[in-house]
Symmetry: C3
Subunit: 511 residues, 3 copies
Amino acid sequence: MRSILVIIAASIIFSISDDTVEAKGLDKGVGPYGEFWKPIPTQRYWAPDYFYTPPEEPKGVYSEEECVACHKALNPGLVKAWEESNHANFDKIDKIQNYQNIDSRLAPVTNPPYAPIGKLQDYQREKLAEIEKHLGKKLTAVGCIDCHGKIGAEKLDHAKELVMPSAAHCGECHKQEFEEFESEKHYGIPDWKPGRESHAKAYDANLDVDVWAAQDKNIVQGCDMCHNIQHKCDSCHTRHAFRASEARRPEACQTCHNGPDHPDIEYYRDSKHGSIYFIEGNSWDWNKQLKDANYISPTCQSCHMYYKGQYSHNMVRKAIMGEGDVLFYDNIFKGIKPTDYIKNSKELQSRREAWIEVCVQCHSQRFSRDYLDSMDKASDSIFHYVSDAYATIKSLYEEEILYPMPENRPKAPAPVIEKYPDLLGGFYGEFWAKGGNPSRIEKDFLYMWENDAFLVRKGLAHMNPNGFTYISWSNLLKKYVDIQSEANTLRRLAALEKKTKLRSKKIREKK
Amino acid sequence: MRSILVIIAASIIFSISDDTVEAKGLDKGVGPYGEFWKPIPTQRYWAPDYFYTPPEEPKGVYSEEECVACHKALNPGLVKAWEESNHANFDKIDKIQNYQNIDSRLAPVTNPPYAPIGKLQDYQREKLAEIEKHLGKKLTAVGCIDCHGKIGAEKLDHAKELVMPSAAHCGECHKQEFEEFESEKHYGIPDWKPGRESHAKAYDANLDVDVWAAQDKNIVQGCDMCHNIQHKCDSCHTRHAFRASEARRPEACQTCHNGPDHPDIEYYRDSKHGSIYFIEGNSWDWNKQLKDANYISPTCQSCHMYYKGQYSHNMVRKAIMGEGDVLFYDNIFKGIKPTDYIKNSKELQSRREAWIEVCVQCHSQRFSRDYLDSMDKASDSIFHYVSDAYATIKSLYEEEILYPMPENRPKAPAPVIEKYPDLLGGFYGEFWAKGGNPSRIEKDFLYMWENDAFLVRKGLAHMNPNGFTYISWSNLLKKYVDIQSEANTLRRLAALEKKTKLRSKKIREKK
Amino acid sequence: MRSILVIIAASIIFSISDDTVEAKGLDKGVGPYGEFWKPIPTQRYWAPDYFYTPPEEPKGVYSEEECVACHKALNPGLVKAWEESNHANFDKIDKIQNYQNIDSRLAPVTNPPYAPIGKLQDYQREKLAEIEKHLGKKLTAVGCIDCHGKIGAEKLDHAKELVMPSAAHCGECHKQEFEEFESEKHYGIPDWKPGRESHAKAYDANLDVDVWAAQDKNIVQGCDMCHNIQHKCDSCHTRHAFRASEARRPEACQTCHNGPDHPDIEYYRDSKHGSIYFIEGNSWDWNKQLKDANYISPTCQSCHMYYKGQYSHNMVRKAIMGEGDVLFYDNIFKGIKPTDYIKNSKELQSRREAWIEVCVQCHSQRFSRDYLDSMDKASDSIFHYVSDAYATIKSLYEEEILYPMPENRPKAPAPVIEKYPDLLGGFYGEFWAKGGNPSRIEKDFLYMWENDAFLVRKGLAHMNPNGFTYISWSNLLKKYVDIQSEANTLRRLAALEKKTKLRSKKIREKK
């Protein structure tokens, strides 16, 4: 009840744009910058709703048995995975009971928190009954055509009707899970576009990025391969086994949540939370629902899917992540310190309270509150360095000492719009560069706010001590140091050129 | 006996300072630089002996049952972990026997080196008897008040008596383990402060670092979160399950021993030793004591806790790690090559002999000796580059070409004392920087000696081929190359400024 | 049959040089640069065929029982591992059958694809019979002398006859596996030396590298420790347990295939393929042969050991890896775009077709083909940046603006030959540097082609989205940006020096 009120409140705060994109072939792009790019063939698979069309061959109308027979020969691994899935094994639900004792036999060795397996059977029976009631018919299995055609259809015209199923398609049976997932669209980051960082609008958020639109799709399809989670349940429940037990494990998140821009798995792995998981996790019962799991240490899922006493497929209701860009980039231009920004946002304050509820499951109120406060206060120290670095670069720009000055170098390709000084150190530099645009000092500033600054905060959030000291704080300072020294070199060169008449005022006049 | 003699000998070599720090609230800092900083609230938890005071609420005197009832509602995860612990399950010791056959049933699949489980029961019975004898009474369980108040107390005044238990508190029952741990204080690194790199003096070593004292505690609490091992047994045996089986696994070390400053877990993971552990470790019996374990591949614990035939909680008796700073930094100023330094130290020679004893468990004498010799000889090559880089920077300083010169830039905050040229590339630059202090060239040198140089050696020590070639040696050379090129740029700029009269001699006069 | 034809075809394309290196002591090096270096003692173990001689002690002739008795006391871990091996347990083959039910009991918990264990027994029996037939005698065990002396010998003269077994020695029993392994020598990379990147010629390829020959062996033995796979089966099947089940797991590859030069395990780990393995792999049956394994997700082995329907110890028959250096370095000088290079090579085209066959086991033809095409097209974007960076540096060289110019700086030690401008950014700079050789801008270019460029491609090949965007593409651009800015600084300094007469033309005259 309480959570429903919050949904409504949030919906008011962040109104959702409804710019639906029509499904197409590969003729042209979609989204706000659709005119600037054309999809490549693999994008059919990254965003099937927008680009997928069936292959021309084979032509024919096939039954379930024919699908399996042919693909078992062509792509045996695909069929095997489905054969292991619950989709193909409704009849095995009744057999689960027989094995309920296996865990207790192992218990003394590994001391695992196994639940009675009987519950799993009950849950799966209830779930199936719910789906059957909802669909208005009995199910004996979920097969190829149900997902790659229409649910319940007997035949599929391969060259005309084949689809790559979207989350909405899965949602026809898995109604509750889909609705939870879709509800993420209502949770934006204050001062950002609605739903910008939710999983449920991830692909559209990708389409909003100017440099993504501008760059070679063969490279930036790397963005698609994660951001396509908007369309694909199998980002976490990988096809064709679709195990919930897989999606409940931290490694399920790591294909997207790793690397310099979002080292979540790395930071989790080396936290105490993570080390306990990696030591003991193999003895935990991953068939349990999160609400019953009660692990001895948190996982990605047990923290991020929790909100006010419930677990759901909405993972962003208490997220303050988007602050990364807001706190350490947008706010430079507004001159707002992180602690002030967070303190003055009712939405962020309420998310923080929900966050503390998670920590308190194992830690004291006082500790949890003090620790998250220290994360905010640390952010002010970060902000100080980021602001100072930006001020350095901005003054170089204003004194025309930046080299080359923006007017004397290649422009970033459309639709990237270069608006200086606000674009100094802009995000486009992570994916495009040419002949001095951006220059070294701008690039260092870009990675300072886009990676290091945020990662100090992320290290703190994930209780990873090296994550916020040697890994991120030191990296932030390295770039700050490089920026100061580069600024000195640029100033000295400009002064020398002026003195020796190698530098005139004509630069600015070029504009 | 032999090991006792060594303890005595070592005690003579490294006398231990006994500057005990009094427990306090959050009013002021502690340690040699205590006057320069104030603790933040979270430090109550990082160093409870120094800063912890109980929360004001709840007021009241509670029994064990009341603790559990209330915290089960407030912090269920915390209570659950305790419920899984041996502390809460003395009565289960007798049941261990029943399961002795489980392992052999699994044996043919995974071929694990399981011990008869019966031994575990014997061990736990003996241990309990020993503790009961030592305490002079029977125990039926270890509960909240035993650890968070006084051992054996029936009641706890929450607002007045609550404590966060220190290692010494654990040591009241776990006498032997605590004494082993404390004995680390007697093992320093030659030419360093006594106990500086031991776990048992880790927090105090932290307090000794000037830039730690100078910096925002919300950031540098990342140091506290590892260095607090001095006070906390639960760094390895995490609360509230406190499993020895957890602390025996390499992942137990990784929260502190990872990252650019000490990538131990990374280097282990990618060694053959580690790959065998990560492939087979899940089938090994972690309930076994190290002396009985006999793994097919070494773990962090099986090498580092071993010394002359025995395993103990003293992990530094054969450590040569502190050499990092000594070999590659301090010794630059003294001009002593690593091989000479090691050869001329009786203490290091004796540690080396103890080290070889570990290798010889699986490798031949000749191989072990030749390999560790090659590690030392490689260190001379590293030293050559580090020395050469320092010489370059020092000459820039002496010729007043460093830019900005120390006298023309912001000073590091107290208590950091800037003593040039010896502080060029000083450690403070990893945590603090401002307006050209340090400059890019000094920063590169800092990471050259503080990370890369040491990591070539660490890579060799951990048998990780990439660890000492592509990862560290190449990183060392990258910085060396950058230093040479930056030096050239600084020299050329200075020469141009002199020639064009943009540079006068007034710089030095400012001093 | 088809595969035999391909072997013959390949043999014609890449003729194999037969410069056999004679076994020696530690007096002098081997290989094309043997005269420039001397082996260090540890190299006896990295390349026993070339450098191993037995230790002088103990003197004596020993039986198997004496070996075990003595080494059990001296090196118990070594003997224990052997005791766990199949070599020591021929008698247990008959007992495998007894345990065939264990897996199905666990099945409902983890849903593992276990095979009937009976098959393993059959396989091992057949294998043993085959070996016995081949050797012409019955075997009851494989012991110390069989491997460290002569197969079937009863006694060993320790100081004279002791050997460290080579792959060929293993091949006396494991004929088929050795022949598969050796067949790699027939698969080179077009435009490279034959067998250069195969495992079977890895050590000799190492000896071909000029800077390896030039550098301190204590450092560059890190290369040996992986490249010695040419001589050692225990790189994957670690001694002395030699489990096939170990060698079948991805971690078996990671000691060599990790790090900035070849982050294969990292890229696999964070792909969906890898996350499934790391979640579920512990429940898979690693005793199964690859052909029967049928994992739900691929491993290093299941992709790389597969070729046209068969699995073997030849892992390079469809490899396009060597392209790294060829596509992004050699081809700069020839001005050939990656797509053109690949399209125009019959050999690479045929490997690509074989590659697609692997993907198609689980993915559609269309997807597999489109995806690998996009990898090639992405390579053109990479090539554009690498070429542009090289052009920048080359023009600096030609205008004599590079600083210091090659003629004014220390020369790389022999046998490295400096041939400019083609050696600008040459590989030697990863292992050697001195006084401005190479300079910062050349070093950045080196890591651009040697690491980042190739790693974008590797990230794509391993389906790791961050691997080819934030990790590699962004790293490539960072260096490109640094190169452009450094070039600007060098140009400005040169112009200033010319204007102020600090720079004369005498530089070139020095040559």
